[in-house]
């Protein structure tokens, strides 16, 4: 129960931020950081707890974003319904890619490469398919009412993404205390021993990937509502796959708060470099690369791991 208390406390503190400041810069920064925390928590469920390193979480993010965007634009579907359908669509893509790769017994870097390939295939299709607007992109219609999941100010967006993150934290915490989570970790640590313990490795991995994709998909739907614009490079681009894994790895792989910590650190670093050195394209990635190397070499359990060792 204590761990749920910590989650409640962290979320409550974060929820107070819009009451303290109405600065669009601060809120925008935090919204994006929380979005990455959410997408990263999705990655963390599969990669952190399950040890299956995906390099293609963009596939789930983009599918969800496009699903809700296109449903609203072309079919007049309500944005909240679009959110639910988008999450389902992302989860479905997760289940399909998971079934294909786990059934073929892909592990380690082979799994990573196949997930990357799926995301890239979807990106290329989205960049030419008429339904996505191809090169022009998808522009979600401006409709600033809460019924349309759009708001005048940033604060409601901030609270909604914070609520999503809160749910993802609770899911991760439940994972740590459940049989499913224990099985997932067992598979990460030793697949043969897991089988001998009676674990249906394929099913557990598949369920984890579906859940992972669903969480990341929620981030994709939120992105569509917040920025109201999608193109193939945004929805399915490698940037989101990279952010999805960078945040949990830097923050603490296989920990509840790792993705949130990592997302805040990564986004802060990104802003700081932008201010100090100017907006040289790709420079932030160079910095992230260096941080990633440092973390993997000196703090394999990320920032959360360092904090835990101290206490």
């Amino acid at each position: 129960m204590r761990s749920y208390g910590i989650i409640a406390l962290v979320v409550a503190l974060l929820a107070c931020v819009p009451l303290v400041t109405s600065s669009n810069v601060v809120l925008n920064f935090l919204v994006v950081a929380l979005l990455i925390a959410l997408v990263g928590q999705g990655w963390n469920v599969l990669g952190g707890y399950g040890g299956q390193y995906s390099f293609g979480h963009a596939a789930f993010f983009g599918t969800a974003a496009y699903t809700t965007g296109i449903l609203q634009l072309h079919y007049g579907v309500n944005a909240w319904a679009g959110l639910v359908i988008g999450i389902a669509a992302g989860a479905l893509v997760g289940a399909i890619t998971g079934a294909l790769s786990f059934r073929s017994g892909l592990r380690g870097s082979y799994f990573a490469l196949v997930t990357l390939a799926f995301a890239e295939v979807l990106r290329i299709i989205a960049s030419v398919a008429p339904i996505t607007g191809a090169g022009v992109g998808t522009l979600v219609k401006l409709d600033l009412r809460w019924e349309a999941f759009q708001f005048q100010s940033r604060a409601p967006f901030y609270w909604i993404i914070l609520a999503f993150v809160a749910v993802s934290l609770v899911i991760a915490q439940r994972l740590e205390r459940s049989r499913f989570g224990a099985y997932l970790v067992a598979i990460r640590e030793n697949e043969d021993a897991a089988k001998a313990a009676g674990i249906d490795v394929f099913r557990v991995k598949l369920a984890a990937m579906t859940l992972s994709a669903a969480i990341t998909a929620a981030g994709g739907c939120f992105y569509a509502q917040y920025f109201l614009f999608l193109d193939a490079g945004i929805a399915y681009g490698p940037w989101i796959s990279v952010d999805a894994l960078l945040a949990p790895i830097i923050g603490g792989i296989g920990t509840v708060f790792g993705p949130l910590l990592g997302a805040l650190v990564v986004k802060t670093l990104g802003e700081v470099t932008k201010h100090l050195i100017g907006d040289a394209p790709g420079l932030d990635l160079v910095i992230f690369g260096c941080v990633l190397i440092l973390v993997v070499a000196f703090a394999p359990r990320g920032i959360a791991g360092l904090l835990r060792r101290r206490t």
Partner: protein, 251 residues
């Protein structure tokens, strides 16, 4: 009650040009300890892997409690009550001893608290009671062997396949482990063990099968096996039995 728990019928396994297991047939009776011995490379571990579903058989069938289980997946066999240990220990290295064992306990205890308390019980049974919070990767060889045994017991098996749980232990550690295995048998769990430590085979097993070059070449109670000329030759080479008889006569 000495019904057949496990029956292996003419199982063969080919790896390319190598016939690792050649029409091997053996059985294990309920509630007893059956040993599977044989020189290195005889195919013992391969046979275990086939029985537990980690490898498929090229030919032959495996029966458990009278049902054909050939080719079933490892997790389904585990759920039916077949547990195994690995010759090269396979711990969940990053987890604690308690968590390692609990992974198995979850099979019959869905709630975390129940699984952990069941795991603790198993840990005490194999002598790991004081190490529950220790990380598996920090255990000694003897500790890891005990953990293998504990993880197998945690799924509450009817049949336990032990693949050299005594290998790599020093004589005093072997002496400590033998009563642990006897206690498990006394609880009614049928045991099949692959073992090289003959002292343990002699004191534990009631029935011994000898595997050499993939084939079962002898079976019987331990003392008969120890005197069997074919067995001595399988271990020591052709003509060894005759030489031993000769030197015994002269000496």
């Amino acid at each position: 009650m000495s019904g057949e728990m496990l029956r292996v019928e003419n199982v063969s396994r080919r790896f390319g040009g190598l016939l690792a297991v050649d029409q091997a047939a053996f059985f294990a009776e309920q509630g007893r300890i059956t040993a599977l011995i044989g020189p290195n490379g005889a195919g013992k571990t391969t046979l275990f892997a086939i029985i537990t579903g980690f490898l498929s058989a090229t030919a032959g069938r495996v029966f458990f409690e009278g049902a054909d289980i050939t080719g079933l997946a490892p997790h389904l066999l585990a759920r039916r009550g077949i547990a195994r240990t690995f010759q090269i220990t396979q711990p969940f290295a990053g987890l604690t001893v308690a968590e390692n064992i609990a992974v198995g306990s979850y099979l019959h205890h869905a709630r975390r608290a129940d699984a952990l308390s069941a795991a603790e019980k198993v840990a005490h049974e194999v002598g790991l009671g004081s190490m529950l919070g220790r990380r598996a990767s920090d255990l000694t060889v003897a500790g890891r062997k005990r953990l293998e045994l504990a993880r197998a017991l945690a799924i509450e098996p009817k049949l336990l396949l032990l693949d050299e749980v005594l290998a790599g232990l020093n004589p005093s550690e072997v002496r400590d482990m033998v009563p642990v295995i006897q206690t498990i048998r006394a609880r009614g769990i049928t045991i099949v063990m692959i073992e090289h430590v003959m002292q343990a085979v002699m004191s534990l097993a009631e029935q011994v099968f000898v595997l050499a070059e993939g084939r079962i070449i002898a079976m019987g109670p331990p003392d008969a096996i120890a005197a069997d000329a074919r067995v001595i030759e399988a271990y020591l080479g052709h003509g060894a039995a005759a030489r031993m008889r000769g030197s015994a006569a002269h000496g």
